[in-house]
């Protein structure tokens, strides 16, 4: 096993089972509308309150993939704080993989209730697994995390299990 991968694997294993509760903040309509347009999804349920109410919802709401797709909830990290791969080094969910390139492998999402404008959201973040593997192009780590998004009353909104490849 590559020494640095071995060290990083053990470092991440020490995080297993530890859950961090992180404030996401208040969901803003303009931001999820931008997200919908970026995915070329002009569904009126994301934009039009009256249309949403006529379909049984309290108001327009965010596209299903919005919460789990957004990588940062701050105004944005300064350029000098980014790692070489462009990911922020000071993100509370950042994995301790300094020197490795991180690639998303996929997500498994459960949707519990729509996410409307002005919903206060917190995220419970945990690393759920890390495995060393021998891939076709060399050694790598497969890292699995869980992000559980809750509203201000603690009700689940979205549960996301996501895996990454680090090499």
């Amino acid at each position: 096993m590559n020494v640095s991968l071995s060290i990083i694997c053990e470092r991440i294993k020490r995080e297993l089972g530890k859950s961090r509760r992180l404030p996401v903040g208040t969901i803003r309509r303009r931001e999820f509308e931008r997200f919908a347009i970026a995915a070329d999804d002009h569904n009126r349920l994301f934009f039009d309150d009256a249309f949403a109410r006529s379909h049984g919802y309290k108001s327009a709401f965010a596209p299903p993939l919005y919460l789990s797709s957004v990588m940062g909830w701050e105004a944005g990290p300064p350029q000098e704080s980014l790692r070489a791969d462009g990911t922020p080094s000071n993100d509370a969910t950042a994995l301790a993989i300094e020197g490795l390139r991180l690639m998303g492998g996929g997500q498994e999402l459960e949707f519990h209730r729509p996410v409307a404008d002005e919903t206060d959201v917190v995220m419970e973040f945990s690393v759920t697994n890390v495995e060393f593997k021998q891939g076709r192009s060399g050694e790598l780590l497969v890292i699995e995390v869980q992000k559980k998004y809750l509203d201000g009353e603690g009700r689940p909104l979205v549960t996301c299990r996501e895996n990454f490849i680090a090499r």
Binding site: R34, A38, D40, D41, H55, G76, G105, L109, E110, F111
Partner: protein, 140 residues
């Protein structure tokens, strides 16, 4: 809530609506970077990707997943999606044409809710699968 599909009318093998993305472009990735905060330069910085030995920029995986999710929101209604799983199989490049499609594989009930389940994929113009997944949506 407004379920668009009738549980009793759906059967395994039924196709769900196809979404086609013609000519994927770099501005698609840049717009998505701004909306999602995914500023990894592999998705927009030609100098960076060439230095990494990659011929050109490629799409954020969740951008492609977002395009695929439109099949479900069109089919079942945006508030009816209960489960969505995607695995990124291959990169999406500028100039690609993508077809997002899926089919029903079964039905079930969970917590008193009727669910339609199925599989999904995104294929490029060469017929290669770029994203593979599965889903469950609520039905009336």
């Amino acid at each position: 809530m407004a379920a668009k599909i009738k549980y009793d009318a759906v059967k395994a093998g039924d196709a769900i609506p196809t979404v086609t993305i013609d000519h994927v472009s770099r501005p698609d990735f840049v717009r998505y970077a701004g909306a999602s905060g995914d500023f990894v330069p592999l998705h927009y910085d030609q100098t960076f990707v060439e230095a990494a030995g990659i011929p050109t920029v490629f799409a954020q995986g969740m951008w492609t997943a977002g395009c695929l999710s439109r099949c479900l929101t069109d089919y079942a209604g945006a508030g009816q999606v209960r489960r969505f799983k995607v695995r990124f199989a291959r990169q999406v490049w500028p100039g690609d044409t993508l077809t997002c499609r899926g089919k029903v594989t079964g039905k079930s009930e969970k917590h008193g809710e009727k669910l339609v389940e199925g599989e999904l994929e995104v294929v490029n113009q060469k017929g290669e699968t770029t994203v593979k997944g599965n889903f469950a949506v609520a039905a009336a």
